[in-house]
């Protein structure tokens, strides 16, 4: 209803303009509508990415890795996590990342791309829902149960072997049905 009123008001306003001005305004409106469409599409894309990055809807075990762009051991660990992420893709365990520095989302995604991170990076809202104590050391990797309880905390850079050993203690991973 409000949108209709706004269109009516705009139409009424246009009657008071000469033809050139009307054309200019209509052209501006078309451009604005186009930009709005692009913005909406971008928002939907971001929402869809956020949904994809949200672990809340999936009853999976989570490996939560805290990283930072300036943390050298984090950068060393990233390829290990990327490889493990691929290995675990058809199991009940998934890897997600957290930018320790809490940069704005756009910057965080840009840094993650620069660092070559191939697993999802959580939004700060989702991180808050996990109620994890921010680690005292970087990198730190938590393993969370499907009920989101912390079942393991690994401090410092991990290797594929150390991560798989920790998963094995938890009888993980299981192949997805």
């Amino acid at each position: 209803m409000m949108r209709l009123n706004a269109i009516q008001a705009l139409s009424t306003g246009l009657w008071g303009c000469n033809r050139i001005n009307k054309l200019k305004i209509i052209r501006s409106m078309i451009v604005a509508a186009g930009l709005l469409g692009l913005a909406l599409a971008a928002t939907q894309l971001q929402d869809s990415q956020a949904a994809q990055q949200s672990p809340q809807n999936e009853a999976k075990w989570l490996i939560v890795n805290y990283w930072s762009e300036w943390c050298a051991p984090c950068r060393v660990e990233i390829p290990v996590l990327n490889a493990l992420n691929e290995t675990l893709s058809s199991t009940n365990v998934t890897i997600v990342g957290v930018n320790f520095d809490e940069d704005p989302r756009e910057i965080t995604l840009s840094i993650a791309a620069d660092m070559g991170i191939e697993f999802p990076t959580l939004t700060m809202d989702v991180v808050a829902e996990l109620k994890l104590r921010a680690p005292d050391v970087l990198p730190t990797t938590y393993i969370l149960s499907p009920g989101r309880e912390v079942v393991a905390k690994m401090i410092g850079a991990q290797t594929q072997e150390s991560l798989l050993a920790q998963l094995a203690i938890l009888n993980l991973p299981e192949e997805k049905d």
Binding site: A72, K131, L138
Partner: protein, 425 residues
């Protein structure tokens, strides 16, 4: 039942007791007033979107504040001086769109008796994590800041940061920093053991003395292998400069070490305490040192066995030896410590306490011997990295504290903590 005899007997006792009680209450109130701690929130000279602040004092008892404001890519380092009961108008030291701004590794200001120096970090290569330390020197003759000079002369694109500065005589400045010149090309710091110092790879600790114009007077490597991402801290003792930092042993033990300049040379680094914290990672939590004559105090964070602690050690011989550690905080602390020594000899240690996403900035005062006097909450804060590191310094027996309030748009805050008694004994 007849209470009269007892009542008669007790009446004079009661009267006496009341007098004694009143006397005790009066004395206690007077002592409390003398020992009362007042936390006075001061006006902030920093506008909205400010952060990364430091409070600085000099030997004249003057108080300065520095901070960074950011607008899109442009970062600006400003400062103000506290005069009378207000701050002077903010003055700009430098600004740039290629700065490396980090919540743990951020610009500083040094105020000597008649000159100033300031540092910031400047990206040295596009698309890398490499950055240089730029230091600008203030000319009182021209009343202007010079251009930023790269103080390390390695010319290598690598990480350089975590600066500590000290004023020296004749307008010279002592600077210590972490220097990644040997990490370049080593595949992200996959460092060799200390026993093979010829190989590239380790983050090093370096220091130098610079003249008024930024010319290098002396420069040293103080330690060949240190923790990559913890602050260094420096203080001037009766015998010379002291530098504390987080070491990194071959076995990845990351305890706090000290090195002293004595008799024309730097001493072999030694631990201030063997915590035995073994981690193959970055704690981002450096130590803080303060000195007054031969008295030295160092506070630091450690978390062996995932048990967080803030501890304090004191020295009465310019850092040659230290007391056993005194516990400052545990369990819920995330460190981010500061240390200052008051005129009375008392020691103030700032630290942060966390509860979920919330945090408190705390200040604990100890006697010169390390006996706990009291702990005071300075402000509410957030555990978020955006809240940064609170910084403290002191004039007389007053402690100045600055931090970033991130409850809304980030803004630098500053408070003065006034201790009621001059000697906490």
């Amino acid at each position: 039942m007849n209470y009269s005899a007892a009542t008669v007997l007790l009446r004079p006792l009661n009267a006496f007791s009341i007098v004694i009680c009143v006397g005790f209450i009066a004395m206690s109130t007077a002592l409390q007033a003398a020992d009362a701690v007042v936390v006075e929130l001061m006006p902030s000279p920093a506008a909205i979107n400010s952060s990364l602040s430091r409070v600085i004092t000099n030997s004249k008892g003057q108080v300065y504040l520095s901070w960074v404001t950011r607008e899109d890519e442009l970062a600006t380092l400003s400062y103000s001086k506290f005069e009378g009961d207000s701050w002077t108008d903010p003055a700009i030291i430098s600004s740039g769109d290629n700065w490396f701004n980090n919540w743990a590794d951020f610009p500083s200001l040094l105020v000597n008796d008649d000159n100033m120096a300031a540092h910031w970090l400047s990206m040295s290569a596009e698309g890398s994590y490499d950055y240089d330390i730029k230091v600008a020197f203030y000319s009182s003759r021209n009343d202007s800041w010079g251009k930023g000079i790269t103080i390390h002369k390695d010319g290598i694109s690598a990480e350089h940061g975590f600066v500590a500065m000290l004023p020296m005589s004749e307008g010279r400045t002592f600077i210590s920093w972490l220097d990644g010149r040997e990490t370049a090309g080593s595949g992200d710091h996959i460092t060799p053991p200390r026993s093979d110092p010829g190989m590239p790879g380790a983050m090093t600790l370096r220091a130098g003395i610079f003249d008024r114009a930024g010319g290098t007077v002396s420069e040293w490597e103080l330690d060949h292998r240190v923790c990559d991402c913890c602050q260094t801290s420096a203080a001037m003792s009766a015998t010379g400069p002291l530098v504390v930092y987080r070491d990194r042993s071959d076995q990845e033990i990351r305890d706090i070490y000290i090195t002293r300049y004595a008799n024309g040379a730097w001493t072999e680094p030694m631990p201030i305490h063997n915590d035995g914290w073994e981690i193959a990672g970055c704690p981002v939590n450096g130590p803080a040192i303060a000195a007054r004559g031969e008295q030295v105090a160092v506070s630091w964070f450690t978390a062996k066995d995932d048990a967080p602690l803030v501890q304090l050690v004191v020295s009465t011989d310019s850092g040659k030896s230290f007391s056993a550690p005194v516990l400052v905080a545990s369990q819920t602390t995330n460190g981010r410590v500061g240390t200052t020594i008051l005129e009375s000899g008392d020691i103030a240690v700032s630290w942060m306490d966390t509860e979920g996403p919330d945090a408190k900035i705390m200040l604990t005062r100890f006697s010169a011997e390390g006996n706990l006097l009291e702990t005071t909450q300075i402000a509410d804060s957030k555990a978020s990295r955006r809240s940064g590191f609170p910084i403290i310094d002191s004039v007389g027996n007053d402690v100045y504290v600055t931090w970033t309030d991130v409850s809304g748009a980030a803004q630098v805050k500053v408070a003065r903590v006034i201790y009621g008694s001059s000697k906490g004994e």
